[in-house]
Amino acid sequence: MSTGTIISGVLAPHPPHLVYAENAPQNEPKAECGWETLRWGYERCRKNVLAKKPDVFIVHSPHWKTVVGHHVLGIPRCDGLSVDPIFPNLFRYKYGFDVDLELAECLYDGLKAAGILTKMMRNPGFRVDYGTIASCHLINPEWNIPIVGISSNASHYYFSNEVGDEEMIALGEATRNAVEKSGRRACLLASCSLSHRHFTVESAIPEDMSQEHIYHHGQYLWDMRVLGLMREGKCAQLMAEMPDFVEQANSETKEGCLTWLMSALGVPDYPAEVHGYGSVIGTGNAVVEWDPENAKATA
């Protein structure tokens, strides 16, 4: 078996609004339009990622919250109906996908060996969280590539953002090791928004774009700073600033997924491609792709 590699990493936010606006056949509610810059960004990113023919997507989602350890999806097949508890009016999605169980087991073993508390989720009745479903749909609506899901254990962030990030760095390294060991060509998805202050009421028509804007200017400034660092290939600096970003922009990255992704990618020093940026009920969202192979080729 050849050594596996992480062939790409994507910041893949999961607002259900994007799936709703697209009128995905798996989703029951229907929309007129909405959030096009983000959706078109996803389309471009999807084209790039799928062209590389990944064997598996590994997704870290802030909406599978656990406290006792990091949990890994450990059943061969997941089928079900995902209803967003916050936006049930927008997202009632029938999903079905295969899990790369071999890689999941390998990840579980690797985490354990690294001294990271971890658990396999082996209950066949488990409903996969809506963050995982939305991000995976947006990157591969055909669902024809297996998935490995990792829960978000944010308990280390109770101490401080710095302590939380340390745990996520370890998780990222263990993920990379597991991928290498498994021989897979893996694409990693960090399922989260950037700045995350949001409106607390919904407009009468959810897709009314005249009501959509970033929550406040400070958030926009932070998002642009973060995206600027990504585009310049300064991820070490981004990771150093992450605790402030979380604190000041109430970023959804506080659940750890972006730190996990940066760490798994070996803290990229090459430019990322920002495919799209836009606000969803006031939060800042970007679709961003890291392409390690291309970076090597052009270096």
């Binding site: 508890p85 082996r122 308990s155 607390t200 009421v201 407009s203």
Partner: protein, 461 residues
């Protein structure tokens, strides 16, 4: 009609799914079962649940699917097994509760979707307290940003809906007390409260609850939450206290107090009683209406603000016959500007405040520190009459239709002659009956207020 009993119960699934694994969880299960038997004797019409595990961020949600069916697997405790459920939800009550919440300025909506993820806390409580679904139930969400004011208003809206429903209701707050979970694997047999300090705080509030002093605990919930990491800042207590009437007149019973994975899990019953226990100390302000100032997100001029503005200035009657006049000054409490019953129109007390700005024509009667100011009672009286005209006209009536007026003055000696002269200009020819009373003060720094009953015109709906 009334709340026949209130309960506080824990929402983690261990007593339901794995009591045998730990003496603490078994003990909680026994207490849960005992309460279930007690409830079966209460002849209740509705079990109303507020669960800290049903988190909402866009206002509050009320479950309105009459028959939700699902098999729940907890996202953290999946290894404990499945929780199949089929509940009997009182959907009309959910609608009524939602309307009552909106009438008090809250953003609220009902949800009725197949597969909507009912939270573990609600499922555990309903399965254990109402195992055969004999009592129809209601479930309301816990807004993660809501603070005391908003949660009190949510509780009071529940009380409004309960009062109007004529039902005998059991109120259930599903919440942990101290909420510091162990983040490592533990031996369930050795489960214990994660710190001695949390344990002491839990015991303290349980002692107060055992004395039936729910409102005292509600007043101290902030302190408790800060000290013991109370579950969702302990806001379930605010909801329960507001729903049950904000007093200390209960018979309290602590059925059990145990750890679940380090958190404080208590089962408490509160029965309304005549006797008052101890002194009632209100340290915190009371709130009747939510005014949309939940500015957790520190932005201004947002969609959120506009949304709540629409709700408070709506002319749509939300309660039968209630009239909210768009162009009249905003009421200072949870009441409409007027209410129509048959041929009569009853107006709420009307003062001189300028609609929109709340300025007082002729100046306020005292400054912010309570120092008396010189004011113009004639200007105030004219402003009152102008405001009355606005409300009457928006209800399809007019000043000419006024039948009876009660006038309140804060300084009869100083103000009566001038007030009386201005009054006569408008109401002299109309000939409404009138009573004038001196009162010590009015809710805002004004000198005069009118309470009016008018004839309602037939052709206006």
């Amino acid at each position: 009609m009334s709340i026949v009993r209130g309960y506080i119960v824990p929402g983690r699934p261990h007593p339901l799914l794995a009591p045998e694994k730990s003496p603490a969880w078994q003990s909680l299960r026994n207490a849960y079962d005992e309460v279930g038997r007690e409830i079966a004797q209460l002849d209740a019409d509705l079990m109303l649940i507020y669960s800290t595990q049903w988190i909402s961020i866009i206002g509050h949600q009320m479950q309105a699917d009459p028959k939700p069916v699902w098999t729940l697997v907890d996202s953290e405790w999946h290894e404990l097994g499945e929780m199949p459920y089929e509940f009997n939800i009182d959907a009309p009550f959910a609608q009524a509760y939602c309307k009552a919440a909106q009438a008090r300025g809250l953003h609220a909506r009902t949800v009725a979707y197949h597969g909507f993820p009912i939270d573990t806390g609600s499922v555990v409580a309903l399965k254990l307290l109402n195992p055969d679904n004999r009592i129809p139930s209601g479930i309301v969400s816990c807004n993660m940003y809501a603070d005391r004011g908003e949660t009190l208003v949510l509780g009071k809206a529940a009380a409004d809906a309960v009062r109007d429903s004529n039902k005998r209701v059991i109120a259930v707050a599903v919440t942990a007390l101290s909420n510091r979970m162990f983040t490592q694997e533990i031996d369930p047999k050795e489960d214990h409260i994660s710190s001695e300090k949390d344990d002491e705080w839990n015991r303290k509030i349980l002692e107060i609850l055992e004395h039936g002093r729910l409102e005292d605990v509600s007043q101290h919930a902030r302190d408790f939450a800060a000290q013991a990491n109370g579950d969702q800042r302990m806001k379930a207590i605010w909801w329960l206290a507001a729903l049950m009437g904000q007093n200390n007149r209960y018979e309290g019973r602590v059925f059990d107090y145990q750890p679940i994975w380090g958190t404080g899990a208590a089962i408490v019953g509160l029965t309304p009683a005549e006797r008052a226990s101890g002194d009632l100390e209100f340290d915190e302000e009371d709130v009747e209406v939510y005014t949309g100032d939940r500015n957790v997100l520190s932005g201004a001029g947002t969609v959120a603000d506009e949304g709540s503005e629409v709700e408070t200035s709506s002319t749509e009657p939300s309660i039968d016959g209630a009239i909210h006049a768009e162009k009249a000054p905003r009421p200072v409490g949870a009441f409409p500007h007027a209410r129509r019953v048959g041929d009569l129109l009853f107006l709420s007390g009307m003062g001189p405040r300028t609609p929109g700005t709340d300025e007082i024509p002729g100046g306020p009667v005292r400054d912010e520190n309570g120092k008396p100011l010189d004011y113009d009672v004639e200007a105030q009286t004219r402003a009152v009459i102008a405001n009355l005209r606005t409300v009457l006209e928006s209800a399809g009536s007019s000043l000419n239709d006024v039948l009876d007026i009660t006038c309140f003055l804060i300084d009869m000696k100083r103000d009566f002659p001038k007030f009386n002269a201005v009054y006569a200009e408008t109401f002299g020819p109309i000939g409404a009956t009138r009573t004038t009373i001196e009162v010590e003060s009015l809710p805002t720094p004004i000198a005069v207020e009118f309470k009016v009953i008018a004839a309602a015109r037939q052709n206006v709906s």
